[in-house]
């Protein structure tokens, strides 16, 4: 990547920080994102109403459910999966009012799945604070066959749909939560640059 140059569609993630002026808070996290939730409660316990939705991590991931139960003062719900979190959002968001601030922490795939879920209720991506935790692994959208391949940690990866070898770009789709992948050896079939793990 050329120095000083960046792809504008590539999301920028930050650390979670409470919005001082919010009238209520909704924190959504999964797996490793539990640490980001513990960190934000280290800053302070805000006086406004709080809701925290936490999805257990997949088997290989660290799980913070027990610690969160001790730390989060109110409104904590531990859910079994990412899907249960998305379903719970559909239940609670219709009653929420302007002044609610949304914070999300977890893998990139989780962050953008939550973003899509809250967008339906008029909460825009720009209004949400996002912390990427655990892994830099990317979802890749194949521009040739339109399939999405998950958990890619290398600069070049095989498409799960068409088996083409794809070069992983920085161009990102917020709607799909995936980076662009395009055939790396179209001009000289079989000639591949070195495959390296750069998104561990």
């Amino acid at each position: 990547m050329e120095r000083g140059y960046w792809i504008r569609s590539k999301p920028v993630y930050t650390s979670l920080v409470w919005h001082e002026k919010a009238t209520s808070h909704l924190v959504v996290a999964q797996g490793e994102g539990g640490m980001a939730v513990l960190k934000i409660f280290q800053q302070m316990h805000p006086k406004q109403p709080i809701t925290v939705l936490y999805a257990h991590a997949s088997a290989s991931d660290v799980d913070y459910a027990n610690t969160l139960k001790k730390v989060v003062p109110e409104g904590l719900q531990i859910l079994a999966s990412e899907q249960e979190v998305l379903d719970e959002l559909k239940t609670i968001l219709p009653t929420m009012r302007m002044g609610l601030r949304v914070y999300v922490a977890g893998s990139e795939g989780f962050i953008w799945a939550v973003s899509e879920a809250v967008k339906v209720f008029g909460v825009e991506d720009a209004d949400m604070m996002k912390e990427l935790t655990g892994t830099l692994a990317r979802s890749i959208y194949c521009v040739h066959c339109k399939a999405i391949t998950h958990n890619i940690t290398t600069n070049i990866a095989k498409c799960a749909g068409c088996e083409r070898m794809l070069f992983v770009r920085d161009h990102f789709s917020r709607r799909l939560g995936a980076y662009m992948g395009l055939m790396v050896d179209a001009e000289s079939p079989g000639e591949l640059p070195e495959i390296e793990e750069i998104y561990p």
């Binding site: 302007m98 008029g122 825009e124 209004d127």
Partner: protein, 272 residues
């Protein structure tokens, strides 16, 4: 900048301080379509000095046969509003810019709260036409000094029905911003246009209630207040120019004839 040649087709006194002007194109053709919240800049030649005043388009964006603006007579006028009120007559010709929109509706909004103070109602007139056409959820909150200053109140009440709320200062009505902005569903966008103090109060209330910036929209196109006269010196040409209280620095430079040497672009002049 490309302009449109227009002439005044009708003038109507709407309130003691507000006049409504209808423009048609000089060549009789249709105007370009525009989006709710757009404005045009009208060039007014007042005693040899060109004023460029922005005015919101008030008609329905789908009506391209005429453009409509309303002008409030300002007590502390730089000359534009007084000229529009006292000298402009039916049949007179003007140059206006193509419509520009710096106050557009957020298309992704689920609900729209429009807050107008006095003449600040003007950009909402075209937005309401857009909101009605798309069937969007909205509320209009219109505050003004006294009954005779409520330009378009009756018309808006008819168009907006129960979405219309008006607050007449002289009758002791007050818009409770805290209550209004403190209880809106997620996905609501808020728009305010009016006098500076009102815009500031609304923005502050929304921010203190945790509204994200992307949901807060404001417009304030009242002419800047008259300042103090001062003197400038142009670095390269060493020309000294007196800037009168009611002129901008650029206007004073143009008036001094410097601009004519660099007439290609207003921005170029800063290179002097």
């Amino acid at each position: 900048m490309s302009t449109i040649n227009v002439k005044i087709a009708a003038i109507k006194q709407v309130t003691p301080l507000i006049k409504h002007f209808t423009f048609v194109k000089e060549d009789g053709s249709e105007f370009p379509a525009f989006s709710g919240g757009s404005h045009v800049v009208v060039s007014l030649n007042i005693g040899g000095r060109v004023h460029r005043n922005p005015y919101s388009l008030m008609g329905s964006p789908t009506d391209t046969s005429a453009y409509h603006i309303s002008v409030r007579k300002q007590e502390q006028s730089r000359g534009g509003s007084v000229f529009m009120h006292d000298y402009v007559a039916v049949g007179m010709s003007f140059k206006i810019t193509y419509p520009v929109n710096l106050f557009s509706l957020a298309k992704k909004g689920h609900k729209h709260i429009l807050i107008a103070g006095g003449i600040g109602i003007t950009p909402f007139m075209s937005q309401i036409a857009d909101l009605k056409r798309t069937g969007a959820d909205f509320e209009l909150h219109y505050a003004f000094r006294s009954p005779e200053h409520g330009a378009f109140a009756a018309q808006l009440a008819k168009v907006c029905g129960d979405k219309f709320h008006c607050y007449i200062d002289s009758e002791g009505d007050r818009l409770d911003l805290q209550a209004l902005l403190g209880n809106q569903p997620l996905g609501t966008h808020m728009y305010v246009c009016g006098p500076g103090s009102m815009v500031v109060a609304v923005l502050e209330t929304a921010r203190n209630l945790g509204w994200p910036e992307s949901h807060i929209h404001s417009e304030q196109f009242l002419a800047p207040p008259i300042g103090e006269p001062f003197k400038i010196q142009l670095e390269k040409s060493k020309i000294e120019i007196q800037v009168p209280a009611e002129m901008s620095m650029l206007e004073a430079i143009e008036a001094a004839g410097v601009g004519s040497r660099f007439s290609m672009s207003r921005r170029c002049m800063w290179a002097l």
